[in-house]
Amino acid sequence: MIKPTMFWRVARKSLMHRKTSVLLSILSICVSITVLLGVEHIRLEAKNSFSKTVSGVDLIIGARGGEINLLLYSVFRIGNATNNLSWASYQTINNHKNVAWTIPLSLGDSHQGYRVVGTSDGFFKHFQYGNKQGLNFQSGGSFADVLDVVLGAEVAESLGYKLDEQLVLAHGISKQSFSLHDDMPFRVVGILEPTGTPVDQALYVSLAGIEAIHVGWQNGVKMPGKSVPLSSLAKGGLTPKSITAVMVGLRSKMATFQVQRTFNQFKPEPLTAILPGVTLSQLWQTMGVLENTLRLVSFLVLIASLLGLSAMLLASMRERTNELRVLRTIGANPIFIFGLIQAEALLITLSAIMLSIISMFGLITWGNTILGETFSMTLGFNFLRAESCELLGYVIVGAVLVSFVPGLSAYRSSLGKAGSA
């Protein structure tokens, strides 16, 4: 019987014989597989890095409001809190018997479009991201003075700040803010290592620093003449009246739900307490429609290109009548001919898969230079995980299925075809 090496040689040479149309088919399938792999990869990478933006924080508490909104402004620094939480409430939370540590957050100012976060030393000690990784300084350290600022990695990188440089914060979060706190410049005392999370995109000052720059401000407007000289600001006198939110670490994880309930039913002030992990996955699910639409579109693109493959093979049957007849006369049975068409479809698909794997490496490398510049996050090269391999499996099965059409056509014509040369 026919040797496998001979069988595959025939299939390969037959394809090379029709280079142009075969190459176009390979490219068309390659593009759609790359789209499919790319969408899947970005989806999983995004989900992965998304779920790792915060870890080790048991509860986030803010003024009463939407849970997702609270997560968005406290962790992602997107949007604004509708209300603040009073300093007294913060004290109560901090002194709760089950609370191990707290990170107060005071938001509302910015610098060149990057958010300024008023917080405490605890932020650098307790905040974790990824797989319980803590924050580290690439240079300098935590703020010691009222007008000290610590920069996230991306802020330092893109604005080119070095230690000891001075910068001025702006009131509000718009990039074009004209109300500058220019009477009180801050000094860079530390720069954090990159984390690939929103931590990189903010500036950190002490709560006292936030208070200091707002002395003499009312309703977001600087009152002329009311600015207070720095020398008169004793550190103790700068206790905030309110903060935006607080991240909480508990002594015992067992108490999480109980503490959450306590603060959700807090009498003195309406509060909302969320479990970051739970709310993160809720937030991810709200993006499910987008995610599914992308996947659907890439699937449709793939189906279109597989149908294109089928059409190309079917069209080639016409010019191959003689060839098929020769095969039949030398003793090829219709199964061989059917198998040959299938093998050709398979070779085209496998070449397309290989090509798109190579393209993925290229695209990720290229994408990372851009992503790295703007978001200080990068995509991994691990796009061939189980899910993607499963998808590639479906692609191969799909190719085999659609080439049943040309395969059967060749099979049938070779059954009845009498050579009449």
Binding site: M1, I2, R328, T329, I330, G331, A418, G419, A421
Partner: protein, 241 residues
Amino acid sequence: MTEISDQPALLLKNVRYSYQPEHAPVIDIPLWEVPTGTSIFLRGASGTGKSTLLNLLSGMLVTNEGNLSIAGIELSQLSARQRDRFRAQHIGVVFQQFNLIPYLSVMDNVLLAAQFGSRGSNDIRAKAEALFSQVNIHKDLYGQQAQSLSIGQQQRVAIVRALLNSPDILLVDEPTSALDEANRDAFMSLLLKIVKEEKASLVLVSHDTTLSRYFETTIELSAINCPHSSPQEQAAREGRL
């Protein structure tokens, strides 16, 4: 093999074939026998069913009725698969043109046919080279794509391919119509010489009367094929047999 070589190369009895059942048969052969080892020229005008007959003989088409045996094997008794296998092993076919797979090399064309005939590859390559040198196909051409050869060269490669599996019978359909006078002459002499050496039987069909000078036996297709005989004649014939 010895057992079947006693049989006639071809034996047809009451073979009838029509492309559409409602149409009159194209082929209706009451009796035709070709003894083993003979070379026969079957002449017929265009459209009289020569190619159809060759396709029946090679098992590419299946008779509607009657008995058709090749080297003692009744083709209608074989399954489609067995027929394909039988064709690969026992029958060599050469057409007017388009005998080769255009994108395969000369050698691959020949070896592919050998593999369908289940012949071992070591001695088959040697045999192919021997046959190639007999038909003046130079070594340099072995690796070339079949489509790059001239029509005459392709026809000669087709003979090698058809004879490589040592078929009992070689069926040749208008092999020379694409060749010029000189090439035709060379081709015919070569074909008959090589068929004799290989001890195969040969049936060559053509409309071209001049080919008869290469053969001892020439048969008019109309003499054995009577597709337009009336039902009465057929009944009489069947009663006689």
